[in-house]
């Protein structure tokens, strides 16, 4: 360390400890809401609204039962006349004088979210990679202006164009369709994808493709066989940024989807209205909703980190 040209002052033990504890405290503070959601999802409805709030409680999966089902209120006589309950969910529902009437809309909404988020991420990254390669390798007329124009689409809050898009989608029959949402999220994400990926592709030496082209490959073949494998880190980082945006997007989703194509974010708050304030079910919905993004982020955390610090750290 001391031999490097520009000497870096080694942080002392004390300052390291202070920095470490600040990070830990910050992490704990930001984790509290997540912890509370997780805890609430395993409470019974009475526990969830008890005052003072219960930190220690008997866990129950009633919230998850209520999340995936719809229930109807029945008389005690009717419930008593039913054959013995088969599942835990049947049993807890009957204790509250209700029976399970069918599946709730949560699962289809969740699947919608998966289709729309992954679909739009794929499109944005695919288009973004090709566009970034083009900007990086070819003399594109007015390249700088075009790149600025692409970036400028992100300069206003997307919701500013909500009304025109709402009207346009209604005319085109794209309202409440998965295709419409995929197109919309792709359009928003592609600018980010182009900019991020251009940086990554700029870093890949041209010689690789030139070597491949001399060795008998077409430009397209060299792109797929040589450039893409080199760009995987960048593609993964870009994909996760796009996915997080599309997965979490609420404003457009609640405006443009209401039925068949509704995604999970606008659906989850509607759970609250069904049969009293069912906080455990809402919390359960939120918890399930968090899982895919959590798994994806953990799987790609290295690439994500590189994506965030990109440009700050040079090889």
């Amino acid at each position: 360390m001391s031999a490097t040209a520009h000497s870096v002052v080694e942080p002392s033990k004390v300052s390291r400890r202070i920095a470490g504890s600040v990070v830990v405290v910050y992490a704990l503070v930001s984790m509290i809401p997540l912890f509370w959601i997780l805890a609430t999802s395993f409470k019974t409805p009475p526990d969830s609204i008890s005052y003072p709030p219960k930190v220690i409680f008997t866990p129950s999966i009633e919230g998850y039962c209520n999340l995936f089902t719809t229930r109807t209120r029945q008389t005690a006589e009717y419930i008593a006349s039913l054959p013995p309950a088969e599942t835990f969910c049947d049993e807890t529902t009957r204790k509250r004088n209700m029976v399970i009437a069918g599946q709730s809309n949560f699962l289809p909404r969740f699947v919608n979210s998966l289709i729309i988020a992954f679909g739009s991420t794929f499109c944005a990254v695919f288009l973004g990679t090709l566009a970034a390669y083009g900007f990086s390798r070819f003399k594109v007329p007015l390249a700088d202006d075009l790149l600025f124009f692409i970036l400028s689409t992100r300069m206003m809050p997307p919701i500013a164009v909500a009304i025109p898009i709402y009207l346009m989608y209604r005319e085109l029959g794209l309202s409440d369709t998965a295709l419409g949402m995929i197109l919309l999220y792709t359009a928003v994400n592609v600018s980010l994808a182009v900019w991020l990926l251009k940086g990554f592709i700029d870093e890949i030496p041209r010689e690789y493709e030139e070597a491949a082209m001399i060795d008998g490959y077409t430009r397209m073949q060299s792109f797929f066989k040589v450039v893409l494998p080199q760009a995987t880190t960048g593609i993964a980082a870009t994909a996760i940024f796009c996915l997080i945006f599309a997965w979490n997007e609420y404003a457009f989703a609640s405006l443009l989807t209401s039925g068949t194509a509704q995604t999970a974010p606008p659906f989850i708050p509607t759970i609250i209205g069904e049969g009293g304030q069912d906080w455990p079910a809402v919390a359960a919905g939120t918890t399930v909703f968090l899982v895919p993004i959590l798994v994806f982020t953990i799987l790609l955390r290295k690439q994500l980190l590189r994506g965030i610090t990109f440009g700050a750290v040079r090889k």
Partner: protein, 366 residues
């Protein structure tokens, strides 16, 4: 294998002319070196031959066939890049086999050819290693392997030894030349290092500012430089120049420099009076007390068998190469005797050499 002919090749990038109307021929099986300082257009010329750049005008003929506007992959040439451009996501075997895969060669045959090539380059023990862990010299060999495995019409190399350290470089210079002697492939090699050029080339083209200053064998270029640029660029230390002002007549055998008569090779052309320069290599200067050309010792550079002595004269510094055992004191006055048979005379305004008897029988250069 092939003959490469380049005719009036020109490349402009906007208003900048990178290569100005180059014409030369690389004969079948020849090791041809393009030598020049950075930015002289040698790499651009090479990239045009490869098909990585398209010429602004002019022609490139491979075996008499015009390929100037063909795509790189349709030219059947191999290119070794300065930074090797080994694909980092493939191991050595895949890197070498990659060009064969493009031709749709059966796997068994690719394996055979790759192993044969690796043996030739003595890297067969590295075949299944990733390229990222290889040492510089081995990377170089893999890059060469990827080039020769396809048995292309010719090899193009862009400063392939530029990133190696000196010790390794000398070894690779040897290996490259040995390899060339074995497979006799037409090779175009670009470098700014005159030692590499001199020790490997059959023919050299010295380039400067997009122009080919001289085309010839290493001996011709060293002994009979066509211009002051070549004389100055080649040789370490470079050729000495002594200025004088005079006209020259055909048949003259002597010029006057700093009041001293100097014997020169017989002049073969008439020149109107102008600023001229006498060019002489350090090894063709002797110390001679009787010489009228005088100076004082300024410094010495000991090189083992010889030493380079810098002598301050009325016309600037002159460097002489003399035996290492000669004792010289600083400031000591010395007389300089020039070997009249090995002198070149240049026209200072154009930098061009004046034709004399040293050019007799040799190739014509312009």
């Amino acid at each position: 294998m092939a003959e490469i002919r380049v005719e009036n090749l020109r490349k402009e990038f906007g208003s900048f002319v990178a290569v100005q109307n180059s014409t030369f021929t690389v004969e079948d099986g020849e090791f041809f070196v393009m030598l020049g300082p950075s930015g002289c257009g040698k790499t651009t010329t090479l990239r045009m031959i490869a098909g990585l750049e398209l010429p602004t005008s002019g022609q490139i003929l491979l075996d008499g066939e015009d390929v100037s506007m063909r795509r790189a992959r349709e030219r059947d040439i191999a290119f070794v890049f300065q930074l090797f451009a080994l694909y980092p996501h493939m191991n050595v075997r895949k890197n070498i086999g990659f060009p064969l895969l493009a031709q749709g060669m059966p796997r068994a045959e690719i394996k055979e050819r790759v192993e044969e090539t690796a043996k030739l380059l003595r890297i067969d023990h590295l075949l299944d290693k990733p390229v990222s862990g290889l040492a510089g010299g081995d990377r170089q060999r893999v890059a060469l392997g990827r080039a020769i495995v396809r048995r292309p019409k010719c090899f193009l190399m862009d400063e392939p030894l530029g990133t190696l350290d000196t010790e390794f470089r000398d070894l690779m210079v040897h290996e490259l030349r040995e390899l060339h002697n074995r497979i006799h492939a037409t090779t175009v090699y670009v470098t700014h290092d005159q030692m590499e050029a001199m020790s490997m080339a059959d023919k050299i083209a010295v380039m400067s500012n997009g122009l080919i200053e001289q085309f010839g064998t290493p001996q011709e270029i060293y002994d009979r430089p066509a211009s002051m640029f070549v004389a100055d660029f080649i040789g370490s230390p470079p050729m000495n120049f002594l200025s004088f002002k005079s006209g020259l007549a055909r048949g003259a055998r002597e010029v006057t420099v700093q009041g001293a008569g100097v014997e020169v090779p017989e002049i073969r052309e008439d020149m109107a009076p102008a600023e001229m320069a006498l060019g002489i290599r350090p090894e063709h200067i002797r110390f001679d007390e009787n010489s009228k050309l005088r100076g004082s010792v300024y410094g010495t550079e000991y090189l083992g068998t010889t030493q380079i002595v810098a002598v301050e004269t009325a016309d600037g510094m002159i460097k002489a190469r003399v035996p290492a055992d000669m004792r010289l004191a600083m400031g000591e006055p010395v007389g300089l005797a020039l070997n009249g048979a090995r002198l070149s005379i240049f026209d200072k305004a154009s930098g061009r050499v004046v034709r004399s008897s040293i050019h007799d029988g040799g190739q014509q250069h312009g």
